[in-house]
């Protein structure tokens, strides 16, 4: 905390640059699908950018399920303390 200078990695400018680079890389991986022959084996996996949209949607789904389940089974972390 003593150092007045903010670490370069957490400066807003760096974070912006990192975000732009990341989005560019994301676009690049999807763009690669243009140049690759479609390997569709089950049908669905041959769709354009399959792994990209499938990864995103399933992850969103898992976060949502965890959130929903959390409503029922989350307890304060000292729940078992007087065991």
């Amino acid at each position: 905390m003593e150092s007045k200078q903010v670490h370069w990695l957490v400066r807003p400018a760096t974070i912006r640059r990192l975000s732009i680079t990341s989005l560019f890389v994301l676009a690049l991986t999807v763009a690669a699908d243009f140049f690759l022959p479609s390997y569709g084996h089950f049908g669905i996996d041959g769709t354009f950018g399959f792994y990209a949209w499938y990864g995103f949607i399933t992850c969103a789904l898992m976060v949502f399920v965890a959130k929903l389940l959390g409503l029922f089974i989350k307890r304060k972390d000292d729940y078992y303390h007087n065991d």
């Binding site: 699908d33 990864g55 972390d77």
Partner: protein, 563 residues
């Protein structure tokens, strides 16, 4: 020597020397012993090289096989790195117990009969409990007792199964079995309990995070992976394992997403990773079984690396909750870098060890045209990046600035992490040595353009989902209820209250019964008293007995004279 004493047993016996040594000698023993045992493991030839007669059965405590050797090898490597990490900080009890623990795990991988498996199975349960104990806290003691109870239960079920199997087949030989009899189901259940399969999976996330920083590194490696080994040997292709494995995969992800304690996040992700292996065993093709063996090998290394990095943070800061941590990358560069490498490897990023192992299991589902299973495994791979690959490093090393400025841990701990980080990358870049020791011939090329692009899309967009949904994943000071709630809350509550409930119900019934009985007796005696003085007199029991004796004597006398 290797056809007289099993290499694992040598490790168990030599472990007893650890408490007798001090200083450099102990360090030498701790680091030299695993290397020596690794050498001995590779001297064991294929097939049975030692047979001991036991009752009318024969034990085969030394039985070499490709898959056993693979597991034994990674166990020995794991003990070496774990000891290196633990030097100077772990207690003597922990180091001794860890060596016994690893030694008995190695004994199981090189055992050819079920009784030897069972004996070392139980030694593992006790040694791992001792590792937990050595953390020395009240929480770890209580967790270790719960842990031991679950494992002893598993052991009893396994023993019943083995006894039934021997009764049916007359043989103790450990071969592949079918789920065709009660005995085999019992064996399967006994194995699965150690694999942290549902419903008893809670023992893992309950116990492992309570161990010392080095203790949880040791614990992460042996119990669940020995279970994977015996399932691989005993039940390849048992279809039910596919569904159990898939359940474990998603259970691990969802619980890790809800979790705040960094070591519990990693504990849940062990269940997740073992789930991949159990699914692969269920698929059961040579591709799948190769994938399982390879994945167990790489998993032990990157999971230990992740727990070493979490252990270093705990060791240096004394904190383990994500809500207390963050921003540690500033002063812990080595720990951060190694943690990230472990996280990339568990996520199966190209150029890391996870990529060349886990993909074989997915490939097996693909080759068998198991569309649903393949899609679920792909979703789970994305989910691994979500719950362990990003979540762990992000909340521990980045996130917010917690204000903590711990240094990197001591040299030996850093070296252990660097060694395993190097192995994670090394195996990812150059998988051939690992492929060469797999149980079946490998017909798989991990690095194709299509596979690399597909994996990058999957993982990077999982990463995008993480950052887009970050506000939804705000850490809370909570734990998540699991099956252990039944034996920690519900059953004790029922047992504590059952007697007062019984009392409450029983007391009024008893009261009214006695009231009625008294009334009835009073009524009868009143009636009798009214009819006859002589018969309704109260006589002592003694006079009654005397009159019975008299009648019997008369009867005896009469029977004599009638003869």
């Amino acid at each position: 020597m290797t056809n007289l004493i099993p290499p694992g047993l040598i490790l168990v016996l030599c472990a007893l020397l650890i408490p007798c040594t001090r200083g450099y000698l102990r360090s030498l023993l701790l680091l030299g012993l695993p290397i020596f045992v690794l050498f001995l493991i590779w001297q064991v030839p294929d097939g049975t090289s030692l047979t001991i007669a036991f009752l009318e059965y024969s034990l085969q405590p030394i039985h070499g096989s490709a898959v056993g050797r693979l597991f034994a090898t990674v166990f020995a490597i794991m003990l070496f790195a774990g000891n290196l990490f633990a030097l100077g900080q772990a207690r003597t009890t922990e180091l001794t117990a860890a060596a016994v623990y690893a030694g008995s795990a190695i004994c199981i991988t090189l055992a050819g009969d079920l009784l030897s498996v069972f004996v070392f199975w139980e030694i593992m349960a006790i040694a791992s409990t001792a590792v937990l104990w050595s953390a020395g806290t009240a929480e770890s003691y209580r967790a270790s007792i719960r842990y031991l109870l679950v494992h002893l239960l598993g052991g009893v079920i396994l023993m019943i199964g083995i006894a039934g199997h021997v009764n049916e087949t007359g043989s103790l030989v450990f071969t592949a079995m079918q789920t065709d009899s009660l005995a085999h189901w019992m064996i399967l259940v006994g194995f699965l309990i150690n694999a942290a399969a549902p419903p008893l999976s809670a023992w893992l996330a309950d116990a492992y995070p309570e161990a010392s920083p080095s203790g949880s590194v040791f614990l992460s490696a042996f119990t669940t992976k020995t279970a994977v080994f015996v399932l691989l040997q005993g039940f390849p292709g048992a279809e039910i394992l596919i569904y159990i494995g898939l359940f474990m995969v998603f259970y691990g992800i969802i619980y890790a997403l809800m979790e705040n304690d960094m070591r519990r996040i990693l504990a849940y992700s062990i269940v997740n990773q073992v789930g991949f292996m159990v699914t692969g065993i269920g698929i059961g093709t040579t591709m799948a079984l190769n994938g399982v063996a390879a994945h167990a090998f790489t998993h032990i290394i990157y999971k230990a690396l992740l727990l070493m990095s979490a252990g270093s943070v705990l060791y240096m800061t004394g904190k383990r909750k994500c809500t207390d941590l963050g921003g540690l990358f500033r002063t812990m560069p080595v720990t951060t870098a190694c943690g990230i490498i472990g996280a990339l490897a568990i996520s199966a990023f190209p150029l890391t060890s996870g990529f060349i192992s886990k993909s074989m299991i997915s490939q097996a589902a693909f080759d068998e045209h198991l569309a649903t299973i393949w899609l679920l495994l792909a979703a789970a791979s994305a989910g691994v990046f979500l719950h362990a690959g990003i979540k762990f490093p992000w909340f521990v090393f980045f996130q917010k600035d917690s204000g903590l400025r711990p240094a990197d841990p001591p040299l030996n701990m850093r070296l252990a992490m660097i060694l395993f980080a190097a192995l994670c990358i090394g195996l990812g870049v150059y998988p051939e040595p690992l492929y060469a020791i797999l149980p079946y011939e490998v017909d798989y090329v991990p690095y194709t353009v299509h596979h690399v692009v597909a994996q990058l899309q999957l993982l990077l967009f999982a990463g995008l989902a993480f950052f887009v949904l970050l506000p939804q994943m705000k850490r809370t000071l909570t734990i998540s209820l699991d099956f252990d709630w039944f034996y920690r809350r519900a059953f004790p509550f029922i047992i504590e209250n059952i007697f007062s409930v019984i009392g409450k119900v029983y007391h009024p019934i008893q009261q009214s019964f006695f009231v009625r009985l008294n009334r009835g007796l009073a009524f009868i005696s009143q009636r009798n008293g009214g009819t006859s003085r002589l018969l309704s007199h109260t006589y002592p029991a003694g006079s009654m007995v005397m009159w019975v004796t008299v009648i019997l004597a008369v009867y005896l006398f009469l029977s004599f004279i009638t003869h």
